[in-house]
């Protein structure tokens, strides 16, 4: 965003210094721009239209700034400027001359108000400008906007561009845009039929709605063709819908997995009924917040990568607290697993209130880095980046943990100690160290989960409470002490939830999942991946 704006400012300055605009026209433009300062929001729509109609490139930065709420006027003379906030003051750029006036106080200027209507109008209008941009990516974006806008007045621009466009993707979009417009116009039948074909191949909901309208308003061959295209598109949509649902389910499952994976250690392996698990997740999320703040002040350039620093930090913070907890409290409670519930519940209250006291009771803002924002459109699917990252992150964590537990001597000792502490000790295992390490590991992993979860939900003192029940559900459903169970359990519950949600609704869907868990446990009283045989008794 900022890069773009810097470019725009350069552009203005360039334009101004080598201005080829005749003086008279420049004056008109100036008036038209300054006119933005006055009148109601409704009046402003006409003024924006007028600016767009000039077709002059000078209006591009003006309107872009307006849409972003950065167009200001000087109170003294109602002159409109492009404003950039620099620290506590603003620097103003004259849209025509490109002159920069630094250090203007907020008091002296006022924002040119904008609303959604204006933004939409500007976006659609500027897309026609961008259609002639040299950057093919921009042209592509513009063509997409034009397709979405379905504005008949854009038709000449589309035709004009199509005549000289080279980029196949842009051509496709423009043709689709034209097809939509053709269909709703009074074009001849053949044109409409070929337009229907283009739209059918394009697919998607918007094509569907255009075709629906066409099918309603037309007759004969066009109506038939449109109806057939509708059926085809709907079938595709249904399929993609199913796939999308599976993805949503897996993605929800990966969140559940993340939330419960630390618990799979502290509870699943160690047998501590760890009610403070959620708070470890919360601490991870708050660490993310703190790291983000630190990076913001220390190295703003790295802000997009603050999450990468947050991961080890969260592990260390939550792990350290887990370590202290184990040494200070839990170790007195081995052999009395139920009592750990009481103690860790107390700890969870303390941690919640501590965070509330330190950071305040309200939500904290953890922003998505650029590489985790937005979505990719993949055929009929729309996959958001943060979910994709979280999904693979969860799997990676699982893999690491699995390897640690099953393939390393430390993992073996961890399991041995929890099964028979005395005997492990008599075999030379340093049980206090293993206990503390295991609990710290489980807590640290929970902390890492907090980093990921801060990307999709609240960062508040209550964060832990909202995950704790689900986490226990997952671990138990999968089978206590079985990591695979946790993995499969989390994904199963995620997918089940997402398949129930569309037709039962979110509330009933959740109830049904709970009922499903209850019934499932009747069938497999020791969870999905139950340990069988004598060994369990």
């Amino acid at each position: 965003m900022t890069v773009l704006r810097a470019l725009l400012v350069c552009l203005v300055t360039l334009l101004a210094s080598y201005s080829t605009i005749p003086a008279a026209m420049a004056d008109d433009l100036k008036d038209a721009i300054n006119a933005l300062a006055e009148g109601s929001l409704k009046d402003r729509e006409a003024k924006v239209d007028a600016l767009l109609e000039t077709g002059d490139d000078t209006v591009v930065p003006v309107l872009t700034y307006l849409a972003e709420g950065d167009l200001y006027f000087r109170k003294s003379d109602k002159q409109v400027f492009l404003a950039d906030k620099t620290g506590r003051t603003f620097s103003l750029t004259d849209p025509i001359s490109g002159d920069v006036i630094p250090d203007i106080s907020k008091r002296d200027i006022k924002k040119v108000r904008v609303n959604n209507n204006l933004r939409r109008q500007i976006r659609d209008g500027l897309s026609l400008f961008a259609l002639n941009s040299r950057d093919s990516a921009k042209r592509l974006a513009a063509a997409e906007t034009i397709y979405k806008a379905q504005d008949a007045s854009a038709l000449p621009a589309i035709e004009a561009r199509l005549a000289k466009e080279q980029d196949a993707q842009v051509i496709a979009f423009l043709q689709e845009a034209r097809a939509g417009l053709t269909l709703t116009s009074d074009a001849p039948e053949e044109a409409k039929l070929s337009a229907i074909e283009i739209l059918r191949d394009k697919g998607g909901r918007q094509a569907l709605s255009i075709l629906n309208e066409a099918a309603e308003t037309s007759e004969g061959a066009v109506k038939d063709a449109a109806s057939r295209a509708i059926v085809a598109i709907e079938r595709m949509l249904a399929i993609w819908n199913g796939v999308q649902n599976i993805w949503y389910g897996l993605s929800l499952g990966s969140v559940l997995l993340l939330a419960s994976i630390g618990l799979a250690i502290t509870f699943g392996v160690m047998g501590v009924i760890n009610m403070a698990h959620g708070e470890m997740v919360m601490l991870g999320a708050y660490t993310t917040f703190a790291v983000q703040q630190a990076v913001q002040t220390a190295a703003p350039g790295l802000i997009d990568y603050s999450l990468l620093f947050a991961i080890p930090a969260a592990f260390l913070v939550a792990g350290a607290i887990g370590f202290v907890l184990e040494r200070g409290i839990i170790r007195f409670l081995y052999g009395r697993p139920l009592e750990t519930l009481l103690a860790t519940w107390g700890v969870s209250l303390i941690l919640q209130q501590a965070v509330r006291t330190i950071f305040g009771p309200t939500n904290q803002e953890v922003s998505n880095p650029g590489w985790m924002s937005g979505a990719v459109e993949l055929a009929g699917l729309s996959l958001t980046w943060n979910r994709i990252w979280i999904f693979f992150f969860a799997l990676a964590m699982f893999g690491l943990l699995f390897a640690l537990l099953k393939r390393t001597p430390m993992g073996l000792q961890m399991r041995a100690v929890t099964q028979n502490r005395n005997m492990a000790s008599s075999l030379g295992v340093k049980t206090p160290w293993v206990d503390a390490f295991t609990f710290a590991l489980g807590s640290g992993i929970a902390g890492i989960a907090g980093v990921a979860l801060s990307q999709i939900g609240n960062v508040s003192p209550n964060l832990g409470q909202s995950y704790i029940i689900d986490s226990f559900m997952v671990v138990v459903f999968g089978g206590v002490g079985n990591l695979w169970g946790t993995l499969i359990g989390a994904l199963t519950l995620g997918v089940a939830n997402k398949f129930l949600e569309p037709f039962a609704g979110a509330v009933l869907g959740k109830i049904l999942v709970l009922v499903f868990i209850i019934l499932f446990i009747q069938k497999r009283p020791r969870g999905l991946f139950a340990l069988k045989g004598r060994a369990v008794e």
Partner: protein
């Protein structure tokens, strides 16, 4: 191996000595002033009726239960207050009564837990162990808890041997084991004593087994050692009296 204790009458160094220990379970006293020495390359056997405190004594020695009085010296070091893993670090290995294998670990993993105090190079299971208990080799990937009672007992002994101890403490190791393997265990114990010079402390109920192996026997009754002497003493009437009901 450090052997700082003075040599004993038999000429072998003392690997382990306990000196006047008492042990309580809550208010109940289970051991009264027990003293005993275990020599290197000797088999020391402890006998006694049910509930006289044999297991309690072993638990005190390996550190699974604190003593209320007295001292435990291991290889010249006072380990009275040391945790079990520290004592294991000094070369003591324990085959407990009731097997105490790790039920959810496989046989292989059960054995590997014994690596904990070994240097990296020594982290393998010696073939001798599998020769002694071939069944373990067949069942490496079965879960310990699924084994039969006797198999578990074999595993418990095998696991103790994995740690390459210099003192081996066995609590009724023959319990639940088939006769042929009992004979093998007997041979193995003799082998460990003679070839490896390991000190062996054996608690047994099985008199014949004891008489065959032991160099020294101690007899316990009601938390006390009431008789100590060579294995031949077991044939004496008054000694045997301690073992009858």
């Amino acid at each position: 191996m450090e052997q700082t204790s003075p040599d004993t009458a038999t000429g072998n160094p003392v690997a382990l000595s306990i000196d006047g220990i008492d042990l309580h379970y809550g208010a109940a006293q289970a051991l009264r002033n027990i003293s005993l020495e275990v020599e290197t390359a000797r088999i020391t056997c402890v006998l006694g009726r049910n509930g006289v405190g044999k297991t309690s004594m072993l638990r005190a020695i390996v550190g699974q239960h604190p003593v209320s009085k007295g001292k435990i010296i291991l290889g010249g070091h006072d380990v009275t207050k040391a945790p079990p893993y520290a004592r294991a670090g000094r070369g003591i290995a324990y085959v407990p009564q009731g097997r105490e294998i790790f039920p959810q670990l496989t046989v292989r993993e059960n054995l590997e837990v014994g690596y904990a105090r070994l240097p990296r190079k020594q982290r393998f299971v010696e073939e001798e162990i599998f020769d002694l208990f071939p069944i373990l080799k067949d069942m490496l990937s079965r879960r310990g808890g699924d084994l039969s009672g006797g198999q578990q007992q074999q595993l418990a002994i095998g696991r103790a041997l994995v740690t390459r101890p210099n003192i081996l403490v066995l609590d009724e190791p023959t319990e639940g084991i088939q006769p042929s393997i009992i004979k093998d265990i007997g041979r193995a114990i003799t082998y460990l004593k003679e070839e490896k010079g390991i000190a062996i402390l054996l608690v047994e109920q099985y008199l014949d087994f004891c008489r065959e192996l032991a160099d020294v026997v101690h007899i316990m009754d009601r938390g006390e050692i009431v008789h100590s002497g060579p294995a031949e003493d077991l044939d004496k009437e008054h000694v045997r009296n301690h073992l009858t009901v």
